[in-house]
Assembly symmetry: C2
Homo-oligomer: 336 residues x 2
């Protein structure tokens, strides 16, 4: 039986939605229970991860994209989750950026929420996914997740999205390029923003080469141990026709140039996924990821509770005194 807070949030009350997100982020009993209640209402939203180095203008791009998507015939409702301490959405912005953000913040069908990257309980991608579920259940058609594109935790976050957009600029140094190699592997759309700057064609060529050199998106087959049979079969039968070639687009977000084309490509990618049975597969892969991670944590906690504390101490002493190695300690602990 749904709580009053959940019911009001699902009906579109923004204040209730804000309060619900706070409970969910803090993983309070109410927040955890709410996630159980709303889950059957999820499954419609298109999750879009947008990632790029600081200074790539991705927040401005997100703002422009939100405005563009809002102009679609069905007037979709849009949520933005800013998982980035440097994002203007999180308050880390210059004044000029903030003004630009305010334009979309005043749209009643746009909801913007920043998320702390550190300090909270649970994994970052778990909390982002939980937020996405809340927005999805509350009837938001697109959930845009903005992350700074560096490090495994950011990759984990955007990996749960249906569509991943990587934002680059003409004047990023080689250093940044190298960092991006990891994130490029998971890109569905590549954007060279600030395309009015010198060197744009070189950047486009560079990205195109990196994309062509790669073997496309890796679905991390070996990590998935217990998908439903239907999706296991789909995974095993992915062929060349199911391969999406990430296009490289040019934008000038501050001038709204190239944004319509970007929105179009996002819709096209969504249709592609649905047409090839990949939307459902991706949805289950994301869910599998979350479930497997929490299962690992749960199994560990249960083990901790059940383990014989005296024997446990003896093993840790043996390890510290170097009578056994870390690997041998793990084996001994598992045998407790």
């Amino acid at each position: 039986m749904p709580s009053a807070l959940v019911e009001k949030a699902l009906q579109g009350d923004k204040l209730s939605l804000t309060r619900l997100l706070t409970e969910v982020e803090a993983e309070t009993p109410k927040g955890i229970q709410a996630l159980d209640l709303i889950y059957s209402h999820t499954g419609k939203a298109h999750k879009i991860g947008i990632t790029g180095a600081p200074g790539s203008g991705k927040s401005t791009l997100v703002a422009a994209l939100v405005k563009e998507l809002r102009r679609l015939p069905d007037k979709p409702r849009i949520a933005v989750i800013a998982v980035d301490p440097t994002s203007p959405f999180s308050g880390g912005a210059l004044l000029g950026d903030r003004v630009r953000m305010l334009q979309i913040q005043h749209d009643p069908d746009v909801f913007i929420r920043s998320m702390a990257t550190r300090g909270a309980l649970g994994g970052l991608s778990d909390r982002t996914e939980a937020f996405t579920q809340v927005f999805d259940a509350a009837g938001y058609d697109y959930v845009l997740i903005e992350t700074v594109g560096a490090g495994q935790s950011e990759i984990d976050v955007v990996n749960l999205a249906h569509t991943v957009i990587v934002v680059d600029t003409p004047d990023m140094g080689d250093d940044i390029q190298a960092i991006k190699a990891g994130i490029l592997e998971i890109a569905d759309l590549l954007v060279v923003n600030k395309a009015d700057r010198p060197g744009v064609e070189g950047s486009v060529r560079n990205l195109q080469n990196m994309v062509n050199a790669g073997h496309g998106k890796d679905l991390n087959l070996h990590h998935h141990r217990f998908l439903t049979e239907k999706n296991q079969e789909k995974l095993e039968h992915i062929d060349a026709e199911d391969h999406w070639f990430p296009p490289v687009l040019k934008t000038v977000a501050t001038e709204n140039i190239g944004i319509a084309e970007l929105a179009e490509k996002i819709l096209e990618h969504g249709k592609f996924l649905k047409g090839h049975g990949l939307w459902e597969l991706k949805t289950e892969l994301a869910m599998h990821e979350i479930v497997a991670r929490n299962l690992r944590l749960g199994l560990y906690r249960r083990w901790l509770e059940d383990a014989d504390k005296t024997k446990l101490q003896a093993i840790m002493n043996d390890l510290l005194e170097k009578r056994i190695s870390p690997n041998q300690a793990v084996k001994a602990l598992m045998a407790l």
Copy 2:
């Protein structure tokens, strides 16, 4: 009984050491067995994590620091692990940098090894720790671990070090500053490199303020569930006297300015840790981290083997059909 490869590596044969590291990195049976064999020989090396954004000149700083440490009266042997795709040590460098690196690469008592950040099995920090153990056992007195300072995986890596150095420069933008907030929390020494550039005093003040504002290094108490009683007691009795205030140093690594002071502070920090019983505590905390992570993985694998596949499928179907939520699925899977 030690294998010939391990024996030769421990005796200082560089070719054997190289081959051993390759086995360890790939987690071959030989590599895993080698880690068991060498573990009793570890425990002497001072592990130093050096992290900073691309362009901060941290590789040049590492090279200068290696030369400085080599001049110490006891002529210590030094290993460098470059966990950074943009590091000159990993081949991602401009020619000028490479020449500088060659100077230390030709020193017979210096060993430099880069580590792939992606694609290999196991966690990045597990593999870095494994490398550190090999170097430690082979008699290297200092192990310098260079990582690019962004993202949780880098934080995980340097968190295993005794001494963490964060490198900044006067001209880093605010964006980079914000990203660094996470890494600053774990810094023992702060370095403003390229200190001959304008704005250096502002950077020093800035870092000093960030350090003063923080409550110092967080030892992540709540993550540690089964330390030895001795170190549990130490953890519970850490007081103000055990608190190290991270100093902010200025260097110009290309000119060798400030490097002697940096080396001195590193030695001082090592002595501080030993004098306060923190060296042993940190060593066990790092080991605990590795053991706990592999234990979680091992428990999960065992669960996967033992679980009833039919029931497992039914639960995943219920999840996909939204009859149960992810949390409910985790609970049901744990009850299998």
